[in-house]
Subunit: 389 residues, 2 copies
Amino acid sequence: MLGNFTYCNPTKLYFGKNALDGLKEELPKYGKNVLFVYGGGSIKRNGIYDKVVALLRACGKNIFEDGGVMPNPTTEKLAEGCERARRAGADLILAVGGGSVCDYAKAVSVSAYCGEDPWEKYFIRFEEPSADAKLIPVGCVLTMVGTGSEMNGGSVITNRAQKMKIGHVFGEAVYPKFSVLDPEFTYSLPRYQMIAGIYDIMSHILEQYFSGTDDNTSDYVMEGLLRSLIHSAEIASEDPLDYEARSNLMWTATWALNTFVAKGKDTDWEVHMLGQAVGAHTDATHGMTLSAVSMAYYRHILPYGTHKFARYATNVWNVPAGETEEETARRGLDAMEAWMRKLGLAMSLGALGVTRDMLEGIAASTLVMDGGYKTLTREEILEILEKSL
Amino acid sequence: MLGNFTYCNPTKLYFGKNALDGLKEELPKYGKNVLFVYGGGSIKRNGIYDKVVALLRACGKNIFEDGGVMPNPTTEKLAEGCERARRAGADLILAVGGGSVCDYAKAVSVSAYCGEDPWEKYFIRFEEPSADAKLIPVGCVLTMVGTGSEMNGGSVITNRAQKMKIGHVFGEAVYPKFSVLDPEFTYSLPRYQMIAGIYDIMSHILEQYFSGTDDNTSDYVMEGLLRSLIHSAEIASEDPLDYEARSNLMWTATWALNTFVAKGKDTDWEVHMLGQAVGAHTDATHGMTLSAVSMAYYRHILPYGTHKFARYATNVWNVPAGETEEETARRGLDAMEAWMRKLGLAMSLGALGVTRDMLEGIAASTLVMDGGYKTLTREEILEILEKSL
């Protein structure tokens, strides 16, 4: 636990079957006007929309709908949502959907009354909301597992004109006040989205695991989360209606990115920087942009963190030790790659529609971060992207 | 993650060197009158008392001292603390010490204005504070690691006349508002207290681990916490001033008992029921009462949870598999016992001053709980105590 830190996560979670009933406890805490945010409309097909509307009405709320949030929420959509929130006089933003919908809700929360261009303020200059800023409380009902947005201050927004997809991690005041996590709400998710979410979880853990040289408690916890994730992913992949597996995936996703396992760790989140650049140029599914670049990236940085990669091989993948630490480390990545292929993840940028002529542009959109085993040069980014093609 | 649950833990943690500076942020949030609770006076010898007083004064607080909290806080002391809190008109209780001091502070918080006998209300009838009850906010500065009291609603109180030591787990409203966790504050702790705290942590995890038949994410996380604990305990045992080890122990203790790893699990806490009965009759150090009864207890219930004990042997103790699952399971407990003996824990009740003629009385004071692999009979409790003698 090197380094000093604070920890506080005030989000209240309602977990399990019928967790939506938690709304009966939460909704009365807020005023009458609710901005009801959702995505492309799948919640209308699977019945969740009707259940939420019924609960909102039963609690006497005025419902202001803001649907159509896209998988990579844009600055244009954000501006539209802010306008709607102001006109509604929203007392609460209720986000019903996956990570994009939750991220978007948090972005509207901090932007509706910020009085300037939120893209410039939060995503380019990385500023915080001012202490006296009017924030609109956010609550979430999760229908897709992976991003962890249900219990953190993260929000990723895409600027299509600038071909940039950037995340900001806001402080406690922006965390969802509550989140509803019913594993059955994820049953109807298409397989492609399910496994993309699974890899998003894995990537979140690995971004935090592959950093630091100390024997941090967080590293041990992350190994536990990874083993649980691998185990449950295999079961859910065979039987998407296995409640135990889907519930463990949901819980693992939340704890992979609610700041707990980051404590005492440096992180660079470079796989996400690469993946987000791919997303900005292709609009591809987030988890798949991460899987497509991961193997080339990890094999590239392995020499800078050999000991940890060998530990990963042993403690997470149960790989027999090689003659050298480096061989053990490489075997671990081989095991990971085989598992990813079996799951059906996108293993190349080509599978996401990326062509060679796009690589320079993607490299230019990739933010370079410190805090990992190796701060990448522009040449290394291009090399990793080429190997991922 | 079988079962439905809610999760919310609002305690803010300040962790690391100079974490005490967190008081500068927290103290201004409360009124002027602070009940300053501490134990036997070790904080006066190691300088923590002076630092806390200086910060309280700098924040303009009126300090009302309530020292002398004993290792197993009694109902008599609780009554005295309530009287002091009322007379002071305490706006905040600042607990500076180990788990006993934090537990006591929470008990005063819920009892000062409860208007009836708190022992009967909370520890015998297990009632909650009424919704409109006046609770006094609690903040903690931790000087001993183990109980996890710094981030939960737990409070254990001893009734000497009745020879009963009983814990109540209160809800979120009673959690410390903030806790200061500076690993260096634990450096001056005597070795006996340090290793007792280490086993208290292990016992907290095992009480939650040895339950349930599902493949719960919490089980994987607990295996990670146990591995980290074992690793750091060995280092701290050799060099108590190893910051990394002491900080990992501190962080592991907090997460072992802040409700996170309990989610989706049934638990009976029977080792604690046995240990607390021993404590009520001997006033022995809490962690040592747990270590003294653990091996007899776990060997007794092994046949009712063989599969999980075998998993424990493999995933936590790296024991080679035996010919049968039961053999693997027994090897795991043997490895655990060897580790405990090497650490120097109390491995028998005799070492805590218990004599054979006391066993009937201790058995009578032991609460029998459901939720584990085997609900014990009175005969089994006596048998376990005899084997622990």
